[in-house]
Symmetry: C2
Subunit: 237 residues, 2 copies
DNA sequence: GGCCAAAATTGATCTGGGTCAATCGCATTT
DNA sequence: AAATGCGATTGACCCAGATCAATTTTGGCC
């Protein structure tokens, strides 16, 4: 998907009533700082499938996800793809040492981000260690998730991968949408396969198997967890 | 391997002539800060196979690797192991949000670390944003490595995994020991297998295959890269 | 040097998940 | 409502890498 026209809201928003105020990178700022911060970011909308940034791009901006879901992925030269994560509201993207994004990110469905130009954002952090500390926390949390995912990719069976994915995804949505056994899956089967190191066919077959066993029900745009305990047992935590 | 008696040097060292002074977390400190910092850490030695900390342990210390190699790993309840990384001199271990180490670490061969009690170290960081920034850099670098490793685990063949491992390991040693086509491999075949998401047999066979093709020579305690270009081609970067 | 245990290699066989190939089920478009 | 087209499902078959099973090599240690 090539980037197309995006909608930019010139400045009709306030950080103070932003949906991710409490959980995002900006949760470390007080009211006074927030008013200054407000001028650094601009809301940008992306529609389904649009690429927000690419692996080889030079980093000119950081992004704070406000709404929607993004897939973060790396490609091998021959086209094989590994999705390294899904970004949700509150996630902060763009930190790197090389000066280039080291993965690509595109929108799954409509996405709104808060975009910060790199230089001014860097200057703003400079004398605000609280913000740096918050960014560090987010990085450490991601690192922990990354290590968990390595275990999944390297050492789990297809059944375990799929079961762990469903539970993990539900867990992430819990913080955003509250508890529910109905788990929306906005990403495609191909996305799930590329996240789990499987093929689309294996994901599909595993879903069907879980449904036949009464553990889940496949519904439009997601699944329903009929027997969470059984799925947890399969995930073999 | 169970922890046994470790040797602690009461205080016969100086940060200023520490081997990792330039690359580790302490590279962000000036000479004055360094003298204060010196009192926070103590050198601790571990012998081959000893566990430095375990996954479920409550974090009471941070560690700066000074010498030697460590394996960092997570275990599944049934004993399957995934090595999430190897730590080398200059690496900083122990950061987490949960208050517990989320992986285990043990010594491969003799290891020396600089150990910091969590609370005093935290206090020392408090008013030194440079140090925090350095820690953040290290975390971001690790995150990038973690994502690369996810691609390897999820989307590469056994041959590609082994070839990429040999090149990646050589690359890491380059910064420490200078360039060389002789690559020491202090870790066991089992460690390599658990790092690459393979079995020990597959690692062994792949080494043998690479040797038969004249790409490498298996030597005592490591390999020699006879044909780096060919290995790079196999790694399919 | 000789003995023992652990690590590594090699071979034979098996299988989980990949590959290839239809088919199905929708949502759009005409 | 027929045509289109894409994502998802299902089936048949295959193969890379796992498993099982011997050796062989290496490294202490008396």
């Amino acid at each position: 998907m090539k980037p197309s026209v995006v909608t930019i809201e010139p400045n009709g928003h306030f950080c103070s009533d932003c949906g991710v105020r409490g959980s995002a990178v900006c949760s470390s700022l007080d009211a006074a700082e927030l008013r200054e911060f407000e001028h650094l970011g601009r809301r940008v909308h992306f529609s389904s499938g649009e690429t927000v940034f690419s692996e080889e791009d030079i980093t000119t901006s950081f992004y704070n996800v406000l709404d929607g879901v993004m897939r973060l992925y790396k490609l091998l030269p021959d086209g094989r793809r590994q999705i390294v994560g899904f970004a949700l509201p509150g996630d902060f993207l763009g930190m790197n040492l090389s000066g280039r994004h080291n993965f690509s990110a595109d929108a799954i469905g409509a996405v709104t981000v808060c975009q910060f130009a790199k230089a001014p954002f860097g200057r703003f952090i400079e004398d605000r260690p609280q913000l740096l500390r918050r960014i560090n926390e987010l990085a450490i949390r991601e690192l922990s998730q990354a290590r968990d995912h390595m275990v999944l990719l390297g050492r789990r069976s297809a059944d375990e991968k799929v079961a762990a994915f469903l539970l993990g995804w539900r867990e992430r949505l819990l913080a955003l949408k509250g508890p529910s056994d109905t788990v929306p899956l906005p990403m495609s089967r191909q996305d799930i396969a590329d996240y789990l190191g499987l093929t689309i066919e294996t994901v599909s077959r595993t879903f069907t198997k879980l449904e036949r066993h009464g553990a889940i029900e496949i519904i439009h745009g997601g699944i329903s967890l009929l027997d969470p305990a059984r799925v947890e047992a399969l995930a073999a935590a």
